[in-house]
């Protein structure tokens, strides 16, 4: 049986510059991994800005075509899918919940639209029922959302609506690009936990793209760490993050500041103790 999602030596390069000074920039280089079809998991892609993680997400979503290699969904090249059929299987969640919906439009229409186009809902009643069901799965209800505009909701609520919208299409895979980085701290863990529930209760696989090692450790099953388009380390999330082997992974792990890193730069340390890790170009 073929993998749910399989990246086979995927690379992506962009050309930059003008007519005479074209430069090729390799955003993603030779990335391969596979998600098993009957084993729902949260697969995390860790990377910082410029690591190519968002480009990777856009290739999985079929927004960009790889320059070389293949992204396969259920054994079939994503490029050969009819777009609608593909979207019924793979749905995205984006970084900024305040930008995910048109600020001038009511939220529920996105849910109804998705229900009509993917959830085979015929008629208003069916669409409403499907939207309500999806909203309940994320801890909201249609009664709370109907007729509301994005600015009336908090970032956390909006991100839930965005997840509900993705769920209405009944996809098998969700690609979430930095889904909690712009959600307030007090609401962030509810969203992260929600991803866990989607995996455990709905059997969804999730590609979780983040720069945040702590939530990756908390929620994900497997991960890859990317640097400048290249996978530098991969494996089971907790094992890798507990004992990273690649120098870059270690550098990343050591740079994470938590409440336990108390006083790393505080005045009662001697000035020499304030180490810099030397990222000077």
């Amino acid at each position: 049986m073929s993998a749910l999602l399989e990246l086979d030596r995927v690379s992506k390069s962009f050309s930059r510059g003008g007519l005479f000074s074209k430069q090729r920039v390799e955003a993603v280089k030779d990335v391969s991994f596979a998600l098993e079809p009957d084993k729902p998991e949260i697969f995390t892609v860790i990377g910082e800005s410029g690591s190519g993680k968002s480009t990777l997400a856009r290739m999985i979503l079929g927004i960009h075509a790889p320059s070389s290699g293949q992204v396969r969904l259920a054994g079939r090249d994503v490029a050969t899918y009819e777009r609608r059929a593909f979207m019924a299987e793979v749905q995205p969640i984006f970084q900024n919940p305040f930008e995910a919906f048109n600020p001038l439009k009511q939220l529920d229409r996105y849910l109804f639209m998705t229900a009509e186009r993917f959830g085979d809902a015929s008629g208003k009643g069916a669409a409403q029922a499907q939207a309500d069901e999806a909203l309940r799965q994320v801890g909201l209800s249609l009664a709370e959302i109907a007729g509301r505009f994005p600015h009336e909701l908090s970032g956390g609520q909006l991100q839930r609506v965005a997840i509900a919208r993705a769920l209405v299409a009944k996809p098998r895979l969700i690609v979430a690009d930095e889904p909690v980085s712009m959600v307030d701290a007090s609401l962030r863990m509810s969203i992260v936990n929600l991803f866990g529930r989607l995996r455990d209760q709905l059997g969804l696989s999730i590609v979780y793209i983040t720069h945040d090692l702590a939530t990756a450790y908390y929620i994900s099953d497997r991960l890859i760490i990317m640097q400048k388009g290249v996978v530098v380390e991969q494996g089971p999330a907790r094992a890798v993050l507990s004992a990273p082997t690649h120098p870059y992974s270690r550098q990343l792990r050591d740079a994470v500041l938590t409440p336990d890193s108390a006083g790393a730069f505080r005045a009662d340390h001697s000035p020499k103790a304030v180490a810099t890790s030397g990222d000077m170009p």
Binding site: A255, F265, A267
Partner: protein
Amino acid sequence: MSEASDPAPVLEVRDLQAHFRTRYFGVNREVRAVDGVSFDVRRNEIYGLAGESSSGKTTLVKTIAGLLKPPLEMVGGSARFSFLPEWDAVGRAPPEVVRRIRWRHLSYIMQGSMNVLNPLRRIKHSFRDFAWRHLGGSKGEFDARAAAHLERVKLDPSVLSAYPHELSGGMRQRVTIALATICKPDFVIADEPTTALDVVVQKDVLAMIRNIQREMESSVLFITHDMGVHAALTDRLGIMYAGRLVEDGDTPDVFATPLHPYTRHLIASLPRIGDVKQREGLEGTPPNLAAPPPGCRFHPRCPLAMPVCATMVPAMVETLPRHRVACHAVNPGVAA
């Protein structure tokens, strides 16, 4: 801490109120973004302000810095700097006075370094624009001084003749730090200066801010929503929720014994590598500041809420030494 021996605050904020007042075609709105905040920042310390996106922390520092633009208005209270004792807020001083103290006594490090650095001008021109008239001297002397100061933030003097786009994000943010500190100001306001940076770079930039601050013995008001950064960097920490300060104290104390239920949640909900404990988000959502809940603004989400919380605003009380909190559950019967 050793700095505690210097009691005179550089900044005294008392009952500061700042509101957004908008009128659009008859729809009047008043958003009480900062509503009665009081705290002190002393010499030679980094005071951290933590809070969520709608907590009013950015509005608070804009008001303190005197960067008020309509619709934002300072409605009441004071924010007095020791180097400007005759005015109770920078925003109330006449423009020529403000010009005199800017950069010399009070400077800023903002989140987007590109907002400060003119993309079309070389770094040295930005330095001259901001700091030359405060420091004086010939052009050559000034440039040499700027080069020497750049070395403090571990940047090569050649950066001076570069354009902003030729530098990486981390280098640019270091340039803005150098720019903000070259006049050795008494007070630096840093608003999310590392939020846009990668964690590895962030660590260096934080160390840089700490080193420079210590060298100049200046005070820094440091705003970030990232509790990890506060833990690592700040000396004192104030927690804001919905336009009010709910807790402040020495940073290690706040992390060791958080008193306010909101602070407790903020610290407990952070996942940590190596710890698989289940972490929960907080029920409910931050309040709409155009119509905030009565009493304690946290009470609709508070696990310890009591009837009194919905009616009385809790006062900030020094419950532990140098550690204040505004909560009826901690200080029963003390209203503001």
